[in-house]
């Protein structure tokens, strides 16, 4: 009987030529869940932690709604236990030589390879994503990342010699790869009902000697601050929605841990009239409708090819297949009710604002699937255009010229990734350099490699990871970053007179009177009056920032040689004024010998950064790509720097030099207690690009809290003085890293 049925089907398919199901068995995933009695807890210190009296949430198949397991929700005690485990194993793990850590991570990569089927079926089963993406991309990438960073752990032993390993709290599993190699241990907080990180932790735990280095607890995002507040947590990395990241930034302002944010999921595709349109359409499919990216796509199309692109795109959309994620022939799975509702809300709102919506195929409203959707004609000023595009939507809008494309593309607060489609090399490169995003692919979209750093700028967060910069765990910063020293010491009152120091605010290359027309006395260590400095106010700061912005394009486009020349000229000027500066410092209570050393070191710093200007970026070679990936270092724009009170001259120079060297313009507030040496430095050089003004100090906490508004990256000293006279702290690579932002530029080649 069975044979007949088969036969009749074959006959029918011969005429219809339809696709059949190609299901991937999920038996192994269910079997693993069964080993836990379908009841998942947390994985801490190499064993399962299933405390009693906790609420649990069901883990469901997003397509069938079938209950797969129940997952315990963590409470603060569980978080504390996990952090305790991570701290306990930190000592052992971080004191291991790099080679041992590398070996362990390689073994972990091997374990992933051995269990890849289990990993991909489980992930696809619970997330509903198309298994092919998980199988062919995510799992191999996870393995490659571990392998890559194992090598880093091995080779960067020396480079990291001075680093304190960090006990770590993270809110997303994808970051852990970058943290283990340099000797950190990790606590991962995953959203409820996501078993794959737990499985990964179990596999890592079963490896033996270092069970506590990776701990996974599942719980609501509200536990984030609880985790961050645990003693010993040095760094928090968060991947998720922009608003959640903002809230976390506010909550953690002024706290010990470093916060790295990787926010939002929207991507951008820029299609010019000289592109291979058919290939670009495939790029759009890769970006939005292949279950690769978690978010939607903003699509900018040059007007000349708008009609052609729309026709091809709609035709292509008709061939996309939605279905059960575990089906190997499916392009898009389902992502649960929340994602579907979000997409539906966006579509309805866009329609009500006059947008055209094209959907390939229609799904009934109770279906778990959401069809690929193309939104066009959305007026640029409508509220929808401002919002982040959700999965699986593509929002298309036209542009006229490349220049306009850049303006539109950069006119959003998001700065994650983008691709440029153009066959004209000059145009493609100009667009790629001009886009304010972390990653740009030329004529491709969504390529990844462990050797290429990933990150963003603007509201997409400033957390960079991957690539050679292991030390990238420290957040770099984005445009308009803010360095602040927070120690606030009030000048002692007293009186006496001396040769008049330079007076005024140095803005746009010259001294000018402060807006408030008021002055502040500066006294030396005995309390006698050294002189008066101009007291800057909010209005002066505004003026200074404006001047800095005006100067920015010019300074940015200066050749490295010109930048170096300026820093060297500054050094020479400093040297000429050495006696003067030494006496100023002396009067501030610094010993003669130390004062001399400070000035000498300041001169050296300026020269050193001048020399380092040349070393910008590099080209990487990655597997499976013919052509280079350029790792660019771009200036952040205008930096606000508030100098600390320690080492009044040296700190000032050490902060100023890297900022200028990397092409930034600067608004700088010198030490409140001893600003005069800084003003002396300004005086001799006619420097349009270094506006300077004075303002009251701000506390570290306030700076961090305020940065949540537009998520500008900030770097504060939290009131702890830095050893500016030490090479590592005063001129180390960290300063250079923070003075510029990275961009990865993928350049596939071939004709």
């Amino acid at each position: 009987m069975a044979a007949t049925r088969t036969a009749s089907r074959a006959c029918e398919i011969f005429t219809t030529l339809e696709y059949g199901p190609a299901p991937e068995s999920h038996a192994c995933a269910l079997a693993w869940l069964d080993t836990q009695d379908r009841h998942l807890g947390h994985y801490v210190n190499g064993q399962w932690l299933k405390p009693e009296h906790r609420s649990s949430v069901p883990c469901q198949d997003p397509i069938t709604g079938e209950n797969l397991a129940s997952c315990l929700q963590a409470q603060s005690e569980d978080v504390a236990a996990a952090v305790e485990a991570a701290r306990a194993s930190l000592e052992n793990w971080s004191t291991q030589p790099g080679a041992i850590r590398a070996q362990h991570l390689t073994r972990l990569a091997k374990v992933i390879q051995k269990h890849q089927r289990l990993l991909w079926t489980l992930e696809s089963l619970v997330t509903g994503r198309a298994v092919r993406e998980v199988r062919d991309r995510d799992v191999p990438l996870a393995q490659q990342l571990l392998q890559y960073h194992a090598v880093q752990a091995h080779t960067q032993e020396e480079a990291l010699a001075g680093w304190e390993p960090m006990g770590v709290g993270s809110l997303d599993s994808s970051v852990l790869n970058y943290l283990l190699p340099p000797g950190c241990t990790v606590v991962v907080l995953v959203p409820p009902a996501s078993p794959t990180p737990l499985l990964l932790a179990q596999l890592a735990g079963e490896l033996g000697p270092f069970p506590g280095i990776l701990n996974v607890i599942s719980g609501p995002a509200s536990l984030g601050p609880v985790l961050a507040a645990q003693p010993g947590v040095q760094k928090v990395a968060f991947c998720g929605a922009i608003e959640e990241g903002r809230a976390l930034r506010r909550t953690l302002a002024g706290w010990v841990p470093e916060l790295g944010l990787a926010l939002g999921a929207e991507s951008l595709l820029l299609l010019t009239e000289v592109a291979d349109v058919d290939s670009a359409v495939e790029g759009i499919v890769d970006a939005a409708w292949s279950d690769r990216s978690p978010g939607g796509l903003r699509l900018l199309i040059q007007e000349a090819v708008w009609d052609e692109t729309m026709r091809r795109l709609q035709e292509r959309m008709g061939r996309l297949r939605c279905g059960h994620g575990l089906d190997g022939a499916v392009d898009m799975g389902a992502r649960g009710a929340a994602a579907r509702d979000l997409a539906q809300r966006y579509v309805s709102e866009a329609q009500s604002q006059g947008a055209q919506v094209f959907q390939a195929g229609s799904e009934p409203s109770d279906s778990p699937f959401f069809p690929p959707t193309l939104v066009s004609d959305l007026p640029p000023a409508s509220p929808c255009t401002q919002a982040e595009v959700p999965w699986p939507l593509v929002v298309a809008s036209p542009f006229r010229t490349a220049k306009e494309a850049l303006a539109v593309a950069n006119g959003t607060p998001r700065g994650g990734s983008a691709s440029v489609w153009s066959e004209r090399l000059g145009q493609a490169l100009e667009l790629a350099y001009g886009l304010q995003v972390g990653t740009v692919w030329i004529n491709a979209h969504g390529l990844r490699d462990p050797a290429v750093p990933m990150g963003g700028c603007k509201e997409s967060g400033s957390s960079w990871h991957g690539g050679q910069d292991v030390s990238n765990h420290l957040p770099a910063w984005g445009e308009g970053g803010f360095w602040a020293g927070a120690a606030l010491t009030h000048p002692h009152p007293s009186s006496s007179c001396s040769p008049a120091p330079p007076y005024g605010l140095f803005v746009g290359g010259r001294f000018q009177a402060p807006g408030a027309r008021s002055s502040r006395p500066i006294r030396d260590s005995q309390g006698s009056l050294q002189g008066y400095v101009a007291e800057g106010g909010a209005k002066d700061i505004r003026g200074a920032v404006e001047a800095a912005h005006q100067a920015a394009p010019g300074w940015m486009s200066q050749s490295p040689a010109a930048r170096a020349a300026l820093l060297w000229a500054l050094a020479a000027a400093l040297q000429r004024r050495e006696p003067n500066l030494v006496s100023r410092l002396e009067r501030h209570g610094v010993e003669l010998k130390v004062a001399k050393a400070e000035v000498e070191l300041s001169v050296k710093r300026l020269r050193a950064w001048g020399a380092r200007v040349q070393a910008q970026g590099c080209a990487l070679q990655v597997a499976e790509l013919r052509g280079p990936v350029l790792r660019l270092r771009e200036p952040l724009g205008v930096l606000a720097i508030v100098c600390p009170d320690e080492w009044p001259l040296l700190a000032f120079v050490s902060l100023l030099a890297p900022a200028l060297a990397h092409g930034n313009t600067v608004v700088l507030v010198p030490s409140g207690a001893c600003p005069i040496p800084a003003l002396e430095v300004c005086q001799p050089v006619d420097m349009l690009t270094m506006p300077l003004c004075l303002s009251p100090h701000q506390g570290s906490q306030f700076v961090e809290w305020a940065s949540a508004g537009n998520l500008k990256p900030v770097w504060v000293n939290r009131g702890c003085p830095r050893a500016w006279d030490q090479e590592a702290e005063g001129a180390g690579p960290e300063l250079g890293r923070r003075a510029a932002r990275t961009k990865a530029l993928w350049l596939p080649m071939g004709d």
């Binding site: 009749s8 074959a10 398919i13 011969f14 030529l17 059949g20 190609a22 592109a275």
Partner: protein, 315 residues
Amino acid sequence: ESISKQATEIWISKIQVNKPAVLRRAEQIQARRPVKKEWQAAWLLKAVTCIDLTTLSGDDTASNIQRLCYKAKYPIREDLLKALNMHDKGITTAAVCVYPARVCDAVRALKAAGCDIPVASVATGFPAAQTHLKTRLEEIRLAVEDGATEIDVVINRTLVLTGQWKALYDEIRQFRKACGEAHLKTILATGELGSLTNVYKASMIAMMAGSDFIKTSTGKETVNATFPVAIVMLRAIRDFFWKTGNKVGFKPAGGIRSAKDSLVWLSLIKEELGDEWMKPELFRIGASTLLADIERQIYHHVTGRYAAYHDLPMS
């Protein structure tokens, strides 16, 4: 007829093909549409009906041509077809493809077998096309006289590599005329065209000049039917259809040996052009050993066992 020189220039001048992106697409297509079980069996039978069963060897004689023709008529063992309930669907290969000198043998053998499978003949100085135009045209006429109803011509690569698109157009027009009623399949020899952009341009010119099919390669170049090249040609076919409303067929040839490959080719057609192209009138596979592997796979589907080579009749 009405397509002027100007059109020749306009339709091909603005074209952009990005090779790395096409290569990525080619890689993806092979992993994105697995076809299993009954679907696989049905699709494989469809592939059989699209095969131009080919022998193009110096040692071809009447006897192996006759064997080939019988295999074309009975490509799959009768009992296997019965098990699939497909025995009365007239499953044969799409055509038999031979050298011009063997056309008579093929026509005779097929007549003896009592079937109307068309005979295709390669022509125009196959495979290099480095002979005089006059003899190339004469070759076509003679093959048609001998009874070939499909002519696979090779284009003059010199004209492509030197950018003489109008001259190429004129040559293919002459081939078209020489074919008369016979179908014209134009072999682009893509392995020798230098770039994917040239592949697109040559495809477009061949279609504009009136080809019924465009074909990837002769099977004699070092690089033959590859997926990236196919993607470019299929996109050209779609563009031509959108511009003129004419459906032109596609024939990959050379190096297609496994049943799995033939499934990928079918799904590639389905994805890029749609179901209406998945039939012998618009899709052919030029192959000789492919059929044996497909038959083995069908044997496995029906019986659950793999066939030894002696279990299945040879061609």
